[in-house]
Amino acid sequence: MNPFSSGTRLRDMIRAIRACKTAAEERAVVRKECASIRASISENDQDYMHRNLAKLMFIHMLGYPTHFGQMECLKLIASPGFPEKRIGYLGLMLLLDERQEVLMLVTNSIKQDLNHTNQYIVGLALCALGNICSAEMARDLAPEVERLLQFRDPNIRKKAALCTIRIIKKVPHLAENFINTAAALLKEKHHGVLITGAQLCTDMCKVSTEAHEHFRKKCLDGVVKLLRDLANSPYAPEYDISGITDPLLHIRLLRLLHVLGHGDADASDSMNDVLAQVATKTETNKNAGNAILYECVSTIMNIEDNGGLRVLAVNILGRFLSSRDNNIRYVALNMLMKAISLDSQAVQRHRATILECVKDTDASIRKRALELVYLLVNESNAKPLTKELVDYLEVSDPEFKGDLTAKICLIVEKFSPEKLWYIDQMVKVLSEAGNYVKDEVWHALIVVITNAPNLHGYTVRALYKAVQKSNEQETLVRVTVWCIGEYGEMLVGNAGMLDVEDPITVTEAEAVDLVETAIKRHSSDLTTQAMCLIALLKLSSRYPSCAKRINDIVLHQKGSLVLELQQRAIEFNSIIEKHGKIRSALVERMPVLDEATYSGRRAGSVPAVVSTSLGTQPKMSNGVAKPTSAPLVDLLDLGSDDVQAPSSSGGDFLNDLLGVDLSPASPGTNNQAPKNGTDALLDLLSIGAPTAQSSSSMLDMLSSEQDNKRSEGLLDNFASLSTSSAVSSSSMMDLLDGFGTSSSVPVAETGGPSYPSVVAFESSLLKVTFNFSKESGNPQTTIIEAQFVNKSPDIYSNFIFQAAVPKFLQLHLEPASGNTLPASGNGSITQKLKVSNSQHGKKSLVMRVRINYKANGEDVLEDGQISNFPHGL
């Protein structure tokens, strides 16, 4: 036994580690070895440095930390002997990377070795440098490498070339120094030098336009000739692979041609012949030949167009596509994706084959094919393609369903010719793979559904049928529950039957069954259950016969351990039991959701959250004074200027608009009634007709819609409020009869300073004047008498004025004197408003108004902002 031996030999250690049966055993062996290596290092044991480093590298490969060995690498590199340097450099490359500070210390050793007399040592240094040098080292050692590019030994030249690649990647501006020497490499005979030289030139073109120009002018012809000679060369045993001489060099040269020909018509011309030759003459029965063909096709696709060559290339790809070799099909699909931008028609011809590939057993091929199919979809083939994909969805692997669903939804959104088809496809997708469907997608579906009133009946029935079969798809259940809530009466009444439908009979009880199952099911999550509760509230109004039963189900949730559900249950139960009179107004049909807000996604981009703020101006109708987003933000008194309000600001909108402090219970949308019971609700509703109507409908909107993103559509929905307002205004008027003062005579107020009247709003069709007065003793409250005058020759009927104010103001609207406005100013309507300013003296009044009327049989909407209130109000 050698008394100086440092533990075991390398192979004994490896044997010992492999013999370990458990991870703990292995750790113990490794620990022991590391300890002995550390001891050996600290004793500066020269004899076993080599063996120690080898052991360390093995241990490193197993995944254990070995940083204590880094200095050993340096010591070995600095040793004079070849074996030490060899293992030292290997250790350097394996154990260190360019982020280590230790690396800098090696620069000097490398520099010396680059000048060594032993060419193999020079080679070691070049190899290490090429693998891990940092930008610093690159700058320091570039001159040495440049010299070595012209070294007598070709093996050194080829290593120097690859080392140069790393240098110019790290320090691009150094590339200019190498242009001439790199070009010279292309004139050589040695294959290794040619391969590395071609690669160097290719990479230089990417970082330096000067290099690019130079190579294009001076070297292109040489490269073309090289390739031609290579393609024509006879059998050469040293370089032969599968009967082709040096296919790897073929490919390198093709790649260089690719870079040189790209964007330059002349250069592309000069390479046409050789490309055609390679494309047509290369043997395709072996992988080597196919690799060359693939590279050739890639080059053809990326240089300037020569019609014949492109056709040739696409044909080759077509052949690849029908090959039985999976590798070939994979690369073909890959390349076809790039080919689409160049010649979409040609690729379309292969659509059927590509579609087959989507169903392939090979997951990699499926993925590629699906990407490609998505690029191929256009208006004319969207329907059949989608059908194929949806059919495949049923049989596809679960891992693939996610991708497939996402793509189908994208296609359907982008290319639906009509809403009926869109809804049909989405119902199928939801039934099959609803759980993979993203939230934005089913939200968009709901938006579309609301925008298709003639399809409401059809949709709710289709969804009902679908859920019978696939009730484990959560998303499907959610959408169905929402639709049943909204369109429940159409479900049982078979309203709006389309020709293509089979009639079904669904009783109210069955519909309620569905919702009840959904809410009670163990696997339903919070969102689903919450949506069920709201749907039940709506149904309690739409299905009077089931009201008691529905109430019972809602009551049952009162005891829910989840706060959200409990709160909703209590509130809804309260509405059902105590506020039957206003319930129907509350749960009226929701107004149409604004598609424009979602149009950003329709175009294909999917932002994480559709902006909840006013930044995205929803489609406003023909109002005159369209506010820009900034004043709007001010109006609603949002704290920051940041237009991208977080989703919970949905509640704030309502707060501001109604001047009521509704407490947002959770980042959901339950801005129903505040915690202090239903009193605030009554307050709201006893104020005045228009505001009350708008508030009730808005509550309804918020209650029905889970999605905070919708909130920005609130203001936009004033338009549709007019219809609902018109319906309920009569009942409201009755309620408020007690207020009196329905005459248009303004009450003369006494006391307080007087304020000048202002023209609050004026358009070519209408003029609105505000007269101000203050209540005596109450400086914060202003009484405004609004006078509306018709400027057009048409009579306006159904005239309704609405107003909204920011949080610090409180607004009460009294009923108007009438709702018919005679033409051309031959009369007027007046309406009293009462505004209380909690920031009296600090902030001025500001108000947004919306006016609806009917003129000449057409509905007109005008809106605007009034900011010209006199100061001090």
């Binding site: 390398l10 490896i14 492999r18 590298m57 490193h60 490969m61 197993l62 995944g63 254990y64 930390p65 002997g81 070849f82 074996p83 060899r86 290997l90 394996l94 193999y120 070049l126 190899c127 090429g130 693998n131 093996n155 080829k158 290593k159 690859l162 080392c163 690649i165 790393r166 294959h191 290794g192 391969i195 590395t196 690669q199 040293e238 370089y239 692979i241 040096d246 296919p247 790897l248 060099l249 490919i251 390198r252 992988n287 080597a288 196919n290 690799a291 693939y294 590279e295 890639s298 999976n326 590798n327 070939i328 099909r329 994979y330 690369v331 090979d362 997951a363 990699s364 091929i365 993925k367």
Partner: protein, 139 residues
């Protein structure tokens, strides 16, 4: 941290690649890269490449390497590579540098390796002859 990442990478890739059936294509997509793998008996050789690299060529490069290993070790087997991992690296360093191809001639690579091996042999002999002399002298 970086070292454990290597192990993690290997574990992830093993999971993906080992489960693939034999007839499937030799490419998998992983973290935005492509991984080309080729199976030789019980060994898988994998190369991770960029999106715009030529997968078929990489298959050839892997085969190139394996053939050279085969010639060097004489019907190379797994144990050869385990116990002589450093030599496998030396050979790899004659074929690729920083992932770029260096030499397409198997003959040249074999020659270069042989030359370097004999340098190592010579150095060993010299070292053992010196230590013999010392051992003799100090007996």
């Amino acid at each position: 941290m970086g070292r454990f990442f290597l192990v993690k990478v290997i574990r992830e890739l093993s999971g993906m690649i080992l489960t693939r059936a034999p007839k499937l294509c030799n490419f998998v997509e992983w973290r935005g890269y492509k991984v080309v793998y080729k199976r030789y008996a019980s060994l898988y050789f994998c190369m991770c490449i960029d999106q715009d690299d030529n997968e078929l060529e990489v298959l050839e490069i892997i085969h190139h390497y394996v053939e050279i290993l085969d010639r060097y070790f004489g019907s190379v087997c797994e144990l050869d590579l385990i116990f002589n991992f450093h030599k496998a690296y030396y050979i790899l360093d004659e074929i690729l540098i920083a992932g770029e191809l260096q030499e397409s001639s198997k003959k040249t690579v074999a020659r270069l390796i042989a030359a370097q091996d004999s340098l190592v042999e010579a150095a060993k002999e010299q070292a053992s002859s010196i230590s013999n002399m010392i051992a003799q002298a100090t007996k």
